[in-house]
């Protein structure tokens, strides 16, 4: 009986302590996550923008689109989270920026578990540069080994394939929403 009592008391005080901590850190955590997101968006668009210029649009399937609006409220670019399961180990998640004309600006890797020193080079400029200004049509979205246009990384064909796949999928999602039929 005493055991139950003591455990309950300890559990109660733990819960109290965590409640207070959660209360204190809630706002900073939200702000930190927001900052990380804005930072990531800043990296992949080739132009400057203010925090207020970002508009988050969520479509019916729950997918988030980050629209960057210019001065007269015209669309300067869209970013979307995209991923691929074709990676060497686990999912690769990218944040992809697309121009209003459907060209790739750049992407940043949000999460991956590829081999350090080999597969993680998908985060580096020489590999990323290949996708710049490419559109869905007129570019063969495969690595060269599979008969496409993308130069795969040495010893990391699988990672290269997965990154290409993720960029392509992201571009498709954006195209479907913004460029098919009902143009905004």
């Amino acid at each position: 009986m005493k055991s139950v009592f003591v455990l309950t008391i300890i559990g109660f005080f733990s819960a109290l302590l965590l409640y207070v901590t959660n209360d204190i850190t809630k706002v900073p955590i939200e702000k930190a996550m927001e900052r990380v997101k804005v930072e990531a968006l800043r990296q992949i668009f080739p132009f400057e923008f203010k925090n207020d210029d970002i508009k988050t649009v969520i479509d019916e399937s729950g997918k988030e689109f980050f629209e960057i609006k210019g001065e007269d409220n015209n669309l300067k670019g869209v970013a979307v989270e995209t991923s691929s399961n074709e990676g060497y180990s686990g999912e690769i998640i990218l944040l992809l920026a697309v121009s209003p004309k459907g060209e790739v600006f750049d992407y940043s890797v949000l999460a991956h578990k590829e081999t350090p020193g080999l597969g993680n080079k998908i985060e580096n400029e020489p590999f990323k540069k290949q996708f710049k200004d490419k559109t869905l049509d007129g570019f063969n979205w495969k690595v060269k080994k599979d008969g496409g246009f993308v130069d795969e990384l040495t010893a990391a064909t699988i990672s290269s394939r997965a990154a290409t796949d993720a960029v392509k999928k992201g571009l498709e999602v954006v195209s479907k929403k913004y460029f098919s039929g009902n143009k905004k």
């Binding site: 559990g11 733990s14 302590l17 955590i29 350090p116």
Partner: protein
């Protein structure tokens, strides 16, 4: 044993990583860069200090049958606090340490100190024990992560070091962690034996 010895023992003589070989999961997993190693070390030290203080204060009230669940609740509370604080104030560290922060709960070094030391000693000694062990743990992580980062990535604290030596990739991968730790432990054993011989 006097206070100084209680503090001192965790750093070299009973170092949790290099001598007792406790809590190796985070040691091997996060030491790819010095920043990660230090972050993990400090987070663990905080948890250890908190749990040692609380457990040494309440140990007389806890029936011995349920002592382990009680310790785990206390430890898990401090780990969650650290996790929330890191998420709030250091998102970059949160991203690179990720799942290994919540996993401090199962670091057997912390439960080991609670069971073997804090529950049997006074508050003041428990604090010294936690600080000593924490510093010992952090130092071991720092040493291992420095070796791995310099050899494996050619950087230290993320800054490239001079010299054109190509990085030895294996040191950022898990086998490199085992190898580097093995060499450090071997060196520690060698020097302790030598010291004993000299006396």
């Amino acid at each position: 044993m006097n206070a100084w010895q209680e503090f001192n023992k965790g750093i070299i003589k009973e170092n949790p990583v290099l001598v007792a070989l406790l809590g190796l999961c985070p040691v091997l997993a996060v030491t790819t860069t010095v920043i990660n190693g230090l972050g993990m070390g400090l987070a663990t030290t905080f948890v250890l200090l908190g749990s040692n203080i609380v457990i040494s204060l309440i140990s007389k009230l806890i029936p011995s049958k349920v002592r382990i669940p009680c310790y785990i609740v206390v430890i898990a509370t401090f780990v969650t606090i650290v996790d929330l604080l890191i998420q709030a104030f250091s998102p970059a560290l949160n991203k690179s340490l990720g799942i290994f922060i919540p996993l401090i709960v199962v670091n057997c070094m912390i439960l080991g100190r609670a069971e073997a030391f804090a529950s049997r000693n006074k508050l003041w000694y428990s604090i010294l024990d936690a600080l000593g062990m924490g510093i010992g743990f952090t130092l071991a992580l720092f040493l291992l992560s420095a070796i791995r980062e310099i050899l494996g990535s050619g950087t230290i604290f993320g800054i490239a070091i001079a010299g054109n030596m190509p990085p030895i990739l294996i040191f950022v991968l898990p086998p490199g962690a085992f190898a580097a730790l093995g060499f450090i432990v071997a060196a520690v054993i060698y020097f302790t034996k030598k010291n004993k011989g000299a006396k």
